[in-house]
């Protein structure tokens, strides 16, 4: 009997407290429906309590994010004018003083607790999520693959040559959470039912390891996009393309555009590789020389091996560019490659008198 009363009393106390907490959670942590005003014009009604990044995604607004909302990449910045609450210690490392001044926040860290008033760059509204099937995976070199993704029946994608998409890498092996990685589109912008990507293996990379070792033809894959302001500007300046490794991708898409629209601006594509085994798409580029009126392809090897039988340009891509372009010419440059190559190329181009505002490259 004593045991029974003891148990009953302890249980009663426990149940009472648990009930109290449940009620509190119900009323305190229920934020109801919150209104999010975007750019002062569109209003979305969102169930409160979740992070802004995910809440916007539910309404098909995709803010670029490479880490999937874990607060490690610092890409998902949006300006929260009202209702964002205090700046959190998890955000401060990613924001500059100027951004804090302009009310920028990491949308993956801001919780929707009340009505918000936010600013998002207009072009993000055209970003959507797409479901695709892997049509083909082709080896370009020992460490580079050409990936063709076909969109689901009836779906089409609108992008401008040079823009990139974010591939969603599902969980696999030790990777327990989805991640997103950015890749430039290599296919023509007029081909709206398919996108092609050039992917080079990154040592220990989460995404490239998945593409190289796990992904098979016929698999389903999700991506969102398009992103970026790396696209051909409309003017008559002579074009310099510089790329290394997988950086050929967006340039190829731009060349398709030039061929299809008959753009007859003078253009030279400097493609830098280490040795013959890194070189790919030479025939395709030669073909563009026929299709694009004033286009020239200049591949260069920095360290050709004896059995490459290399006849073309030799040396670092920056040296080759330096040899080919004139001082103070009317040029416009589009760069894509590793940060080291981009930095060195910008230096050379500037030394030739090309102003910074005529040099374009992706910052991702």
């Amino acid at each position: 009997m004593a045991v029974l009363t003891t148990t009953t009393i302890i249980t009663a106390i426990g149940v009472f407290l648990a009930g109290l907490l449940t009620l509190a959670e119900r009323f305190l942590l229920n934020y109801g429906i919150c209104k999010i005003v975007v750019n002062g014009e569109k209003t979305y009604e969102i169930k409160g309590g979740n992070h802004l990044l995910g809440s916007l995604q539910q309404h098909d607004i995709f803010i670029p994010s490479a880490c999937g909302g874990r607060g490690t990449c610092g890409l998902c910045k949006v300006a929260v004018l009202e209702g964002g609450g205090p700046l959190l210690p998890t955000e401060t490392p990613y924001l500059t003083a100027e951004e804090i001044e302009n009310h920028f926040r990491l949308s993956c860290q801001v919780r929707v607790r009340n009505d918000l008033n936010i600013l998002i760059p207009e072009e993000l509204f055209s970003i959507r999520e797409y479901h695709a099937k892997v049509i083909r995976i082709k080896d370009l070199t020992y460490d580079t693959k050409y990936l063709s993704l076909g969109l689901a029946e009836g779906e089409t994608v609108d992008f401008v040559a040079g823009q990139y998409i974010q591939l969603m890498i599902p969980t696999y092996g030790k990777v327990k959470e989805e991640v997103y990685r950015a890749y430039s589109v290599a296919s023509p912008q007029t081909l709206k039912t398919q996108i092609d990507l050039i992917i080079r293996r990154v040592p220990q990379g989460i995404s490239t390891t998945y593409v190289f070792d796990y992904l098979k033809e016929g698999d389903s894959i999700t991506f969102n996009g398009p992103y970026g302001d790396f696209f051909l500007r409309d003017n008559s300046r002579e074009i310099i393309y510089i790329a290394g490794g997988s950086g050929l991708g967006p340039i190829k898409s731009m060349l398709h555009k030039m061929a299809e629209e008959g753009i007859d601006r003078k253009a030279t594509f400097f493609f830098g590789c280490v040795s013959g085994k890194d070189l790919y798409f030479v025939d395709e580029m030669k073909e563009f020389e026929d299709r694009v009126p004033k286009f020239k392809f200049v591949p260069a090897l920095s360290n050709p091996e004896a059995n490459d039988g290399w006849q073309g340009e030799t040396g670092l891509i920056t040296e080759v560019v330096d040899r080919h372009i004139k001082e103070d010419g009317e040029y416009e440059a589009y760069l894509c490659g590793s940060p080291g190559m981009i930095d060195a190329s910008i230096k050379v181009l500037k030394s030739k008198g090309i102003p910074e505002e005529h040099i374009f490259f992706d910052k991702f």
């Binding site: 490690t72 990685r181 220990q204 390891t209």
Partner: protein, 153 residues
């Protein structure tokens, strides 16, 4: 050193599959604070500082970066290859860094050592050399080796 909530948060980001495929800790089960403290002691016993080590690694990296992926001889004996990938990698301590893999081969002894740009930042700013068993861990005894490399430049 005490494991603070902030270090707890950082250590969670270092698990495999969060920022990098294999994570930053290898099979090390120690607390992050202890990893940093133990390495701090080892580095001090070699008469070095994190700053000095990072400086040498950076100097070698900068020298090798000029050739975008082709091996470059730095000094008489060191063959340095800096392979840059596109995109950035997040540091568990905050900030974005270039994805660069640096391999230094001593052609005389045929010994090689590998690190990344992120390694340099984590050593300089946080005294973190990665956990035991991590493929990019910089062992303090290898640090002594790097210092020998420096004399060869």
């Amino acid at each position: 050193m005490k494991q603070t909530p902030k270090l707890d948060r950082i250590q969670r980001l270092m698990q495999p599959g969060v920022i990098s495929k294999e994570g930053f800790l290898g099979n090390d089960t120690r607390k992050l604070a202890d990893i940093i403290e133990d390495d701090q002691r080892l580095v001090a016993s070699l008469g070095l500082t994190h700053e000095m080590i990072a400086d040498v690694m950076e100097e070698i990296t900068d020298a090798g970066r000029e050739t975008f992926g082709s091996p470059k001889m730095v000094g008489k004996f060191l063959k340095v290859t800096v392979e840059g990938s596109m995109g950035k990698i997040a540091s568990p301590f905050g900030g974005l860094y270039n994805k660069e893999n640096i391999t230094v081969l001593n052609i005389e002894t045929n010994e090689s050592i590998t690190w990344t740009t992120l390694n340099i930042h984590m050593i300089r700013d946080h005294g973190f050399y990665q956990g035991k068993g991590s493929c990019y861990r910089i062992e303090p005894k290898n640090i002594a080796k790097i210092f020998k490399l420096k004399q060869m430049i």
